[in-house]
């Protein structure tokens, strides 16, 4: 029995009828066609599927699409206005925070949340904040540097912004 849901993804409201067991990540990828959110385990360990749900980083393989009814989701595709890059995305690019890129969207979402909660994190705090995201390529060092790079940029932006 399909259920009607309304989910706002990257600022656009989507109305769909979905099976109650459809995972949120499959809704995002297969129904909406936003394939930047990846699946690495479907068991809420790897973090490849991390999105921002109502302002909180969430693993979209661990919830059903129907649980997101009425809520708003930001995926990697919605991190910045089209054509621009979010400072965290820039940080990953500048510091070589990715190799194969598979973990990267999830990493970027998790990193954005770390900086949202703590604009000036230590390396250890960044590493702790990324506990839910696995990367098999980078050894994490450049990812930590990417997040620090983004932190510097975001502080700079705030300073000049007001």
């Amino acid at each position: 029995m399909k259920k009607p849901i309304t989910v706002t993804v990257n600022g656009v409201a989507h109305h769909d009828e979905v099976e109650p067991r459809l995972l949120l990540v499959h809704y995002i990828r297969d129904v909406l066609g936003l394939t930047g959110t990846h699946v690495g385990c479907e068991t809420s360990i790897c973090g490849a599927c991390t999105v921002i749900l109502e302002g909180q980083a969430a693993k979209s393989c661990t919830m059903f699409a129907v649980q997101a009814d009425g809520e708003s989701v930001t995926t990697i595709e919605g991190m910045a206005a089209s054509g621009d890059l979010h400072p965290v995305q820039e940080g990953f690019w500048e510091q070589h925070g990715l190799q194969c890129g598979y973990c990267t969207p999830g990493m970027i979402m998790a990193a954005a949340q770390i900086l949202d909660r703590n604009p000036d994190p230590t390396d250890a705090e960044i590493r702790h904040g990324l506990e839910g995201n696995l990367c098999r390529c980078t050894g994490y060092q450049h990812i930590v540097e990417a997040v620090q790079n983004a932190a510097r940029k975001m502080k700079g932006q705030e300073a000049t912004g007001d």
Partner: protein, 786 residues
């Protein structure tokens, strides 16, 4: 200094990846795609008495169900490309027939309109198994044990002896012979993107396209054409974005053949995306050796001989290179030392487990672990500093090419240089003083040193199963944009950038005007692929050579356009010019022509002229492209020194890596940022092996560590900050002097980490520990002495 080569250039592949706009297999959506799910063997060893698929076939959304009977004789076996004397290669059906020999072998495939329906229907298939005795332990299997294949009469896949020198005499003449059993535990590669296959068949064109997450699109095309009986020129394999491989995608798998075949049967696109649990069970594993070291030495620390008797765990079947991996171990047993006699005796053994094959390092981490542990054992035996034992046995930089007793010629090296640099960075003398103080305070503190050499740029064709060359085409389009087609198949290494750097400098064009295409067998000339740290040293050299050829051709046309002889044209920063002296002196004397000729022409103008072809010299082939197939004359041998400092918590056995210093020498460097990234990733996979990771099968052959909850790959907070530097000893094997770096970290790191922990625990009488060294192991040692 070059504008691009040698610089920290940001990667050109990143913008799409950081915005979620790349396309991995599962991101490619074709209309009317059907989805496949597999029922896999739940027993490690069993007869299949019957399979009942009738209920599944009628389940909602199910389109077809196939079992081994349906494909027998229609799809060829999963291929093994290795050839060794006396090698037994079991027939490896894509869907099991009446005999399963490991947990995870596909038994049935369900095709349905979506993946949920396919997975649901899997549960409706009834299989009647008759369990058979299981053999898991490699030494038990070698001795006899239950047989994986009755028809063979034993579990031995092959036996091989390699090495040179009189080992018996060498050991007999040694002052000391030290023996040590050593375990290289089975590992699971875990690329973050699991495998995935999408296939589409056009019956009119008779064209089968297979998108697959692979490191070897062309080799896969050849093998899949053979498996499916489709002409190779009607099979197109595309490796789109590939989310990591580490060797696990250097293979041809049952699912690739099956999904292609199903697409041909049903005339619709068919997709299978591997689940993580399937990835644990059914994608190749790595390592899996248990060996016995005998190392001989003199009282002054000179190593006189090394014997390594090893049981190599093949698993139940031989995948593409399974049996070849231990031979790489044999090649690298000399490490970076002068050892006159070396012998390896391999017994390769079938067990009821997933196949082993190439996992990052592929046989060389085992060799490095053997020889580096041996060097540490010699140091412990003689009471020498491990650094001194190493120094004592290094060849001098002037001794290269250096011949080993394993039959190799190391291309170039300066082992002392890398060691000295690392000792300086670590401040080794102070580290040892700190250790002394720490021990006086009752702390458990250790230092480990690994001086490694590895074999890269695989390799000369004579030494590889299916060609060891690589190909590249470079062309300049009429609008002046540069296209590089590489037979390498990068999947995270960043060669879209580093190859563009080469073209940028060689052709004097902007980096953003270069595009690098790889992974599509219909677009790119035949190639070998990315593995064995060959992407840059072999694939990059092909690009470099093609660029030189292209420049020669462009120079011919430029000279024609400039109205001079090619020898008077210079090329700099993208422009061909007539040398000032030539122009002033009136060139070749044809003054009317010279008066009207421009003095300089850009490479873009030459490209356009080459395509328009209105004004080309006689015999000039229109167009501007060049292809090179580069056959390396030797491997390359990167090396380095890693130094690790650990402190161990007495109460819990927790191991804290306090410092990690690495000096790696991979020859000349195209992009230091990418090299650092490769080294970081390699070291962390090694930390995984040293401290956390182990594929554990129980005695029934069930994979106990079958999820990311049970198999611990390192997380960000589990790994230390790495202090990196380099020395650069160019390789003479290729014109760029590069060596390769993809596996260096993985090969150099484990002995340094293990060495540090053993050193920390040496006051407790410890001389060796097998990996993974878990806190429990350490804690038991400490508490036993308390």
């Amino acid at each position: 200094m070059a504008k691009y080569v040698g610089q920290r250039i940001k990667r050109t592949e990143d913008p799409r990846l950081i915005q979620g706009l790349g396309h991995y297999v599962d991101d490619i959506k074709l209309p009317d795609t059907l989805h496949v799910a597999f029922l896999r063997s739940m027993y490690a060893h069993a007869k299949i008495k019957s399979i009942d698929t009738s209920e599944a076939a009628h389940a909602p959304g199910v389109v077809a169900v196939y079992t081994g009977k349906d494909v027998a004789g229609k799809i060829g076996p999963v291929p093994c490309a290795a050839a060794l004397p006396g090698l037994k290669i079991p027939h490896y059906p894509v869907l099991a027939g009446d005999h399963v020999t490991f947990v995870g072998h596909p038994i049935a495939a369900v095709v349905a309109i979506d993946k949920y329906a396919a997975r649901d229907a899997i549960d409706l298939i009834m299989v009647d198994y008759e369990e058979l005795p299981v053999v898991v332990d490699v030494e038990e299997a070698a001795k006899g044990g239950p047989l994986v294949y009755e028809e063979y009469g034993d579990n031995i896949a092959y036996k091989l002896t390699s090495g040179e020198g009189d080992i018996e005499a060498a050991l007999a003449a040694s002052d000391h012979v030290i023996k040590q059993r050593i375990v290289h535990q089975r590992l699971i590669p875990i690329a973050m993107e699991p495998r995935g296959v999408l296939a589409r068949y056009y019956p009119g064109e008779k064209e089968l396209t297979i998108w697959t997450s692979t490191q070897i699109p062309h080799l896969a095309r050849t093998q899949l054409a053979i498996m499916l009986g489709v002409p190779e020129n009607k099979v197109r394999v595309i490796a789109p974005e590939v989310g990591g491989g580490f060797g696990s995608k250097l293979n041809v798998y049952a699912e690739e053949g099956l999904v292609g075949w199903i697409a041909m049967q049903l005339g619709k696109p068919v997709k299978w995306i591997e689940g993580r649990r399937e990835n644990f069970q059914s994608t190749i594993h790595g390592r899996g050796q248990i060996g016995y070291i005998e190392v001989g030495c003199k009282n002054d620390g000179t190593i006189t001989g090394l014997r390594y008797n090893v049981f190599a765990d093949m698993g139940a079947y031989l995948q593409l290179l399974t049996p070849a991996i231990p031979t790489l171990t044999g090649l690298m047993l000399s490490g970076c030392y002068k050892i006159p006699a070396i012998q390896m005796n391999v017994t390769a053994v079938f067990t009821n487990k997933m196949s082993t094959d190439a996992y990052r390092g592929a046989g060389r981490p085992e060799a490095t672990q053997v020889i580096e542990r041996a060097a540490d054992l010699v140091a412990a035996e003689l009471g020498m500093d491990p650094v001194e034992v190493r120094r004592k046995n290094f060849p001098e930089p002037t001794e290269f090419p250096f011949k080993t007793a394993t039959g190799l010629f190391y291309d170039s090296g300066n082992y002392q240089g890398a060691l000295d640099k690392a000792l300086g960075m670590a401040d080794y003398t102070k580290m040892r003083e700190d250790q002394k103080k720490a021990r006086e305070q009752g702390r458990i503190f250790g230092i480990g040193v690994s001086t490694y050499v590895e074999i890269c740029a695989i390799g000369p064709s004579a030494a590889t199963p299916a060609g060891g060359w690589e190909s590249a085409t470079v062309r300049i389009e009429p609008t002046g944009k540069v296209t590089i087609l590489t037979g390498a198949s990068p999947h995270g290494q960043g060669q879209e950038t580093s190859f563009a750097q080469l073209a940028g400098d060689e052709l004097g064009v902007d980096l953003n005007d270069v595009t690098v295409i790889h992974g599509d067998t219909s677009i790119v000339q035949y190639g070998i692929g990315t593995f064995g740290s060959r992407g840059t040293a072999v694939g990059g050299t092909a690009v470099f050579n093609a660029l030189q050829k292209l420049k020669e051709k462009a120079t011919q046309l430029a000279a024609h356009l400039l109205g001079v002889d090619a020898s008077s044209v210079t090329f700099k920063e993208g422009r061909f010019s007539v040398e000032a002296a030539m122009a002033a002196a009136g060139g070749n004397g044809d003054s009317a022509k010279e008066a009207s000729a421009p003095k300089t022409v850009s490479i873009q103008e030459v490209a356009l002229a080459a395509h328009v072809a209105h004004q080309i010299p006689p015999g000039f082939e229109p167009g501007l492209s060049a292809t090179n197939f580069f056959e390396p004359s030797n491997f390359t041998f990167p090396f380095g020194t890693h130094i690790v400092q650990v402190e161990i918590d007495r109460e819990t056995g927790k191991i804290d890596i306090q410092r990690y210093v690495a000096v790696d020498d991979c020859g000349n460097v195209l992009n230091p940022m990418l090299v650092d990234g490769q080294v970081h990733g390699g070291i962390v996979q090694s930390i995984g092996q040293a401290l956390y990771e182990e594929a554990v099968y129980d005695e029934q052959g069930q994979l106990v560590t079958g999820t990311l909850m049970d198999y611990a790959i390192p997380k960000a907070a589990m790994v230390p900050w790495m202090e990196l530097d380099r020395t650069e000893t160019p390789s003479p094997v290729n014109p760029m002097g590069v060596k390769g770096v993809g596996e260096a970290g993985t090969i150099g790191a484990t002995p340094a980490i293990v060495g540090a922990i053993v050193d920390a625990l040496s006051p407790f009488g410890v001389r060796h520990l097998d990996m993974p060294i878990k806190p429990e192991v350490v804690w038991r040692i400490i508490s036993a002495s308390a």
